[in-house]
Amino acid sequence: MKYDAIVVGSGISGGWAAKELTEKGLKTLLLERGKDVKHVTDYDTANKKDWEFPHRGRITNEMKATHPVQKRDYPYSEFKPDWWVNDLECPYTEVKRFDWYRGFHVGGKSLMWGRQSYRWSEWDFEANAKEGVAVDWPIRYADIAPWYDYVESFAGISGSIDGLPQLPDGKFLPPMNLNIVEKDVAERLRQKYEHRRLIIGRSANLTQPHGGRAGCQYRNLCSRGCPFGAYFSTQSSTLPAATATGNLTLRPFSIVSQILYDKNTKKARGVLVIDAETNQTIEYEANVIFVCGSTLGSTHLLLNSVAMGAMPEEVANRSGELGHNLMDHHFRCGASGEAAGYDDKYTYGRRANGFYIPRYRNFFGDKRDYLRGFGYQGGANRQGWSRDVAEMSIGVNLKTALTEPGKWTIGMGGFGEMLPYHDNKVTIDKAKKDKWGQYVLSIDCELKENEFKMRKDMMADGAEMLEAAGIKNVTTYDGGSFPGMAIHEMGTARMGKDPKTSVLNKWNQMHDVPNVFITDGSCMTSAACVNPSLTYMALTARAVDHAVNELKKGNL
């Protein structure tokens, strides 16, 4: 079967590719390896209360047995377990610890993501070139700015206009509220520091109705799917738009196993799909292919295409960089303390967002003993029933105390940029196969000296700022961070100016396969320290626009 376009993957990037391609008139096949998830009707736990779950959200030993990796952190829970992969069906090799969190279903991680949405600045794009790290990005802020405008306006991003050069303002819906403790801390930081600002998080949660979707109801149950469509996901936003064109064919249970390269036309002619339910293989053909299967999913596809002989190595990986320069953000360290003097204040509602302190290190003339920097995500709230009430004895006194809120506490955790290192890489492991007979990925990635030096500041700065803001009993913490944990993994098919040192050009187009575009996290040449999904959206929309123009000109 032949289509105008094929999109591999239906997550944050794939949903956008499908929307843009179909809206520009292309008959598009959207291939998703997992099951379908219908907006609202398949959010079966979205309205359940905690006590309606047998284990109140905690995972059982049965669940741990089939999810040895997903069980490592909080996102996999009893509240919506079927959106996290069965690790036994799709294993991988950890040369060093890498926590690979995945969701195989229509919508991908756009259903479970954290929704924090920040633009890159010019300083992020030029860092590699200025510091002699890895290779230069082939684009700058001016290239992507109109596309940030475009995707923000459609998706609906709430945030405040702050005028910070290191974190460009966007096309925002009204911001969510900071609470009184956060506002006071923000003001004290503004007075004490020239370049450090505490702002409300910029979140893909709607603060007013938008595009036919309702505003956020402050239930903080986003990761179960939102019956109000109040946060951006494939289901709430891009898929309905694509479907409305009449040009979309969605095929779930379709694992794209190989990209099929035609030596005569020197283009990809299509893809080989393994039906996830029947193991039947099917070929689909198209004029243009958008690979949006998640960072490591996409690179796995390319490496496997080479391993299986469907793509020549010199065409898929002339530079030798495919699989290399894997990055993630490192986090899980910061500071917290107690805010005194607010006993007569409380909060109403469960805000699925926090505050944000944009990066200031190694900017504005500051120079540290490491490169790049970090931002903080945090929040203030009153302690609940799980706090220790040392002075209360067992029984009535304890119960009474715990039915009231405790002290106000405030905490913040840093998200740090990880440099691209050639040695942090993924390769094909031919000694292991997944449930469908495909070779698996071997992942060899670790934080290095630059990151560890940065973590010291992430804790010390956090403590210093809280103390400067009058917070008491300030302590720091470091829970340890391994690549994969932040679920912001990126790189391995990087963009660059030179085909000898990069996989993709300035249009996310493979240097040597002009009708294949890769627009998910794998394309990233550096990582910055901000949550990356908004950038994937913008790069995808921009790349589709270019691809369709090229098709019209007969260049593809």
């Binding site: 209360k49 905690d50 006590w51 047998p54 284990h55 109140r56 905690r58 995972i59 059982t60 030993n61 049965e62 741990k64 047995a65 952190d73 909080y74 996102p75 993501w113 954290g114 924090q116 969510m176 509220n177 609470n179 109801q217 402050y218 239930r219 986090f331 899980r332 006993d343 007569d344 204040k345 409380y346 909060t347 109403y348 509602g349 469960r350 805000r351 699925a352 967002n353 926090g354 995500q377 929040g379 009153r382 609940g384 029933w385 799980s386 040392a390 004895s393 067992i394 029984g395 009535v396 304890l398 119960k399 009474t400 715990l402 039915t403 009231e404 809120p405 955790g413 932040a486 679920i487």
Partner: protein
């Protein structure tokens, strides 16, 4: 991603003769003439857990832990979610608690008065607090068994329908987020 604090941690596969407590009809178990209890716990052990929990969170102007079936919940969590080593520690902890009760009061926990039970658990609470203070962070040293019992009780109670909607205030769909005034005695949100 925004972090949430993890509440508790758990284990691996249970042995073949364990009963998974999911979808158990607790009412039926309570009323059955012969019962296998819940998971690893006999019916009388579940009763003991309820008595312990109810001592920690008694009935006041709102129902207590027993009415919220916290004992059944604790048995479910330990049976289905705990690692074997933690399960063993928990069972031994119950034995230790009973032994301490026999030592102090000359009878089992179930036969003691409310005053005696409360006094015993307060002693154990002080003991766990001392132990926890001296525990080295990151050492992998397990918690004191009474700390575990207390944590499970509080979680089981405040996440139950009774706890969340009667002892605390529950609003299903708040619709907004903002700072509000607070006066002493206002209940926390469930």
């Amino acid at each position: 991603m925004l972090q949430r604090t993890a509440v508790l941690f758990g284990g691996t596969l249970l042995g073949a003769d364990s009963i998974f407590a999911k979808n158990i009809d607790w009412e039926a178990i309570e009323n059955a003439p012969e019962s296998k209890g819940i998971g690893l716990f006999s019916k009388s052990q579940v009763k003991l857990l309820n008595e312990i929990a109810d001592t920690i969170i008694p009935e006041t102007d709102t129902p207590g832990a027993k009415q919220a079936k916290v004992g059944q919940f604790m048995a479910t969590i330990v049976s289905d979610c705990y690692e074997p080593a933690d399960q063993q520690r928990f069972m031994e902890g119950l034995t230790t608690l009973q032994a301490a009760c026999e030592q102090t009061n000359g009878k089992s926990f179930q036969k003691c008065s409310l005053a005696q039970r409360t006094a015993l658990l307060n002693t154990l609470d002080k003991e766990q607090r001392e132990y926890q203070k001296n525990k080295k962070p990151g050492s992998g040293q397990p918690n004191h068994y009474f700390r575990t019992i207390k944590d499970l009780t509080l979680w089981g109670y405040f996440s139950s329908e009774i706890g969340a909607t009667q002892a605390l205030r529950y609003v299903e769909t708040p619709g907004r987020y903002e700072t509000i005034d607070y006066k002493k005695g206002d209940r926390a949100w469930g």
